[in-house]
């Protein structure tokens, strides 16, 4: 069937393309500014000459960062927590989401209420700390990998994705003699690419960006690179109290920018790989009649 290109069709797609172009510019420009300042000389920055093109090109900021002790070590830590944390989280969340997506299951409502309740009430800093401490998880990497493996928000999203899979497919499988475990592994998961990818992405970003939990539960040799970033970028901005000689401890903007780029570029670059899961209508036609 031939689709006719009417004027309204052309206008429609043009409008969308232009709109997306505006979004592109607005999101990209600040990044270009950060890239530019990271590659410019401090003198150019101080004299206000840098916008989106680097002036006085030099890589001094990057060289300085790479020479900081423990930088690569911290980077390795971050990758470790992100990869393993996400894997564990995906397993646990999927295991929980699948049964909970069966609203007719006895006990489903109760468990859902438990989950939601826990979203609003947490023990607070000290009780959590004591719990992790009494489980002997402090100063070990498990303190980051275990306590955060199920995020209620992500869980609810995944439940929602599972619910949107038509039940005919599962019923056909049950008739064919497949157990629930098999259904989960061989039918539901392959069809939930987009949902799983979204949750994996959100979880990965959570672990990549986490600094607070690492700060309080880990030894300094296990610190991720985000703490390092915070120290450099925030510096003493949010210090209360006496400040004092710490007020003058500001690093140049070029170093801050370089740190931002180095710490965030990898996680940003994950998205293109995740996008392949956002593919349309894989399940069309899998069930006939």
């Amino acid at each position: 069937m031939k689709t006719y290109k009417t004027r309204s069709t052309v206008a429609y797609y043009l409008f969308i393309d232009i709109l997306m172009g505006i979004v592109l510019v607005m999101c990209l420009t600040p990044f270009l500014y950060i890239i530019a300042t990271s590659l410019s000389s401090p003198e150019a920055i101080i004299n206000g000459k840098v916008f989106i093109i680097p002036r006085g090109l030099n890589t001094q900021a990057y060289r300085q960062i790479f020479s900081y002790p423990n930088f690569f070590h911290a980077y390795g830590n971050t990758i470790f927590y992100t990869v393993f944390g996400t894997m564990i989280a995906l397993c646990m969340t999927t295991l929980f989401a699948y049964p909970l997506s069966k609203t007719w299951l006895k006990g489903n409502k109760l468990v859902m209420k438990l989950v939601i309740f826990s979203m609003f009430f947490s023990g607070g800093l000290i009780p959590n700390y004591l719990l992790i401490s009494s489980l002997h998880l402090t100063n070990t990497r498990w303190a980051i990998l275990l306590p955060f493996c199920i995020n209620q928000f992500n869980l609810i999203l995944l439940i929602n994705f599972f619910k949107s899979i038509p039940s005919d497919i599962e019923e056909a499988a049950i008739i064919d003699g497949l157990g629930y475990g098999g259904i989960l592994l061989r039918i539901v998961l392959p069809l939930s690419g987009a949902g799983l990818a979204t949750i994996a992405l959100y979880t990965a970003v959570f672990f990549w960006n986490d600094w607070f939990n690492s700060l309080i539960y880990l030894k300094s040799t296990q610190f991720p690179v985000m703490l390092f970033l915070r120290n450099i970028v925030n510096g003493t901005t949010m210090l209360g109290g006496e400040g004092g000689s710490a007020d003058k401890g500001a690093l140049s903007l070029s170093i801050k920018s370089a740190v931002i780029l180095v710490s965030t570029l990898p996680i940003i670059m994950i998205y293109p790989f995740v996008q392949r899961f956002f593919v349309k209508g894989v399940m069309v036609g899998s069930v006939k009649g």
């Binding site: 510096g235 210090l239 109290g241």
Partner: protein, 517 residues
């Protein structure tokens, strides 16, 4: 493809983790009989001088004291959080914590037994005691005791506080407009007016980081100290140095005079209106270097960076001695003791506690270690020529300045690890200009006042004081800003302001403070 990505990432992670993994375990094998004292310690890491395990000072200090230290490097912005958690729960506390003063929560923690009362063990800190005697600080150190009469930290010691920050003005512009260096606030006003007349687009006076820095430096000249960095720590109460008691600085006539002066500056376009937002280091440098501002209160070692970046011919910044206000010429008050070393309660339960204390005492307070933490190692970083310290050529010419270079390369002169500060020794790291300014300031007498004593609260009183402080602090901030910018008139609205502060309990708070001083 997915699988190879994951495997790749895992490999990177494992390589990264193992990188420098071996450096973490300290190599020295304990010698036969006594062996090094093993201890863990919290260190507050400032990004401008990142901690290095192989810093000369660190290695030598450990050797000197016979210790094997596990340094926990914690970023300065979150240092207090981690320390607070460790002390509050008692879980996972290290053996020693650096850079702590016994104020606020620490005072309550100490009184409730979370910190070792180190004054009970002064027999084990001979070096510390010796330095205190040398500097004549017995009384000052005794005053650090809390309401139970015990002292809970080993503070850092200063023999003479030095003038490391103050009013900084464009010397070349002073010369250009034929002005003398101002000595009083009124003269300063005239200087600013001249600047503005010749540069109508500029705002001559700007501030570093935020108004609290300005207040900290200039309020003592008017007899008060208020705000987030108030020397009393109470935000709204100030210390009367003659009567030796607190008074309600926020509603005093001295404050009225202060805010009137600065409102005048603001109204006439002499004060940077963007001061409400924190002005970060880069923006401040920008304003100074490009000539948008000509005067500020800041620190001496920041001058170099700004001068280097400026493209204005003949650009010269100079730090001047403090201006004289109605209460005299003063600068931000400084104590002769500073943040220091604290031992969490569980350390006292160690069988070798005495060794630990003695080792720490030797590591930070002995004569040799004092020289080490300040100057480095003789023969390596400096040599003695005719009894005077001479740094190596490389460092004399270092663009960072000797002070900063020694800090970054060797760990000398860090607030966190250097406990003993001898003024003459410190001066060797600065240029002659700085020494001259300090000499002039010292001649003026009593420029840098002592910090007022902190009240000896028990934690119930501390909680009450805290509950007065927050609403009073908020109210003061709002009114101060309104008076400064002219949103509220100092003449017409002053009484309403005083009435509100009284309603919020400033007088009750004052009573509480004076009762416990």
């Amino acid at each position: 493809m997915k699988k190879t990505m994951l495997v790749l990432l895992l490999c990177v992670a494992l390589v990264g983790i193992s990188a420098q993994g071996t450096k973490e375990t300290v190599a020295t094998t304990p010698s036969a009989a006594a062996g090094p004292v093993k201890l863990s310690l919290f260190y507050s890491d400032n990004a401008t001088l990142p901690f290095k395990n192989d810093w000369l000072t660190v290695k030598e200090a450990e050797k000197l004291a016979g210790t094997q230290v596990e340094w926990e490097i914690i970023p300065i912005a979150d240092y207090q959080t981690k320390v607070s958690l460790a002390l509050n729960t008692g879980a996972n506390a290290p053996d020693v914590i650096l850079y702590q003063s016994i104020t606020g929560e620490n005072a309550s923690l100490a009184l409730n037994g979370a910190i070792v009362p180190i004054s009970d063990y002064s027999a084990w800190t001979p070096n510390f005691n010796a330095r205190v005697k040398e500097f004549g600080l017995e009384d000052t150190v005794a005053k650090l005791a809390l309401s139970d009469g015990k002292r809970y930290n080993l503070p850092s010691l200063f023999d003479v506080p030095f003038y490391d920050g103050g009013i900084i003005i464009r010397a070349d512009l002073l010369a250009k407009y034929g002005l003398k260096a101002p000595k009083t606030f009124d003269e300063f006003y005239d200087v600013l007016k001249t600047f503005k007349k010749n540069n109508p687009d500029s705002y001559p006076l700007t501030i570093l980081a935020g108004p609290r820095v300005l207040y900290r430096f200039t309020m003592p000249c008017f007899g008060i100290s208020l705000g987030r960095n108030a020397s009393s720590g109470s935000y709204v109460l100030s210390w009367d140095y003659t009567k030796k008691q607190y008074f309600a600085g926020a509603i005093s006539d001295q404050y009225k005079a202060y805010i009137t002066y600065f409102h005048k500056l603001f109204a006439e376009g002499l004060l940077d209106p963007e001061m409400a937002d924190p002005i970060d280091g880069t923006k401040w440098s920008q304003k100074m270097a490009t000539g948008k501002a000509m005067a500020t209160w800041a620190y001496y070692d920041q001058i170099g960076g700004v001068t280097a970046a400026s493209t204005i011919p003949g650009f010269k910044l100079q730090m001047y001695p403090s201006l004289a206000g109605p209460a005299g010429a003063h600068n931000q008050p400084k104590a002769k003791t500073g943040a220091g070393i604290v031992f969490p309660a569980k350390t006292a339960k160690r069988a070798d506690f005495e060794q630990v204390v003695r080792a720490i005492d030797k590591m930070f307070y002995s004569e040799e270690s004092a020289k080490l933490w300040c100057l480095g190692v003789e023969g390596q970083t400096y040599t003695m020529k005719d009894g005077k310290v001479q740094f190596t050529d490389k460092y004399m010419k270092d663009p960072r300045g000797i002070y900063k270079a020694l800090q970054q390369d060797f760990g000398c002169g860090s607030d966190v690890t250097q406990m003993v500060w001898v003024n003459k020794r410190e001066m060797t790291k600065y240029d002659e200009n700085y020494a001259a300014i300090n000499a002039e300031v010292e001649k003026m007498g009593n420029v840098i006042q002592e910090l007022p004593p902190r009240p000896k609260f028990n934690d119930v009183d501390a909680e009450t004081a805290g509950s007065y402080q927050t609403p009073l602090a908020d109210a003061w901030e709002r009114w101060n800003n309104a008076f400064l910018t002219g949103a509220k008139s100092i003449d017409a609205d002053w009484d309403a302001y005083v009435a509100e502060m009284k309603k919020l309990g400033i007088e009750k708070m004052l009573e509480l403070y004076n009762k416990n001083r």
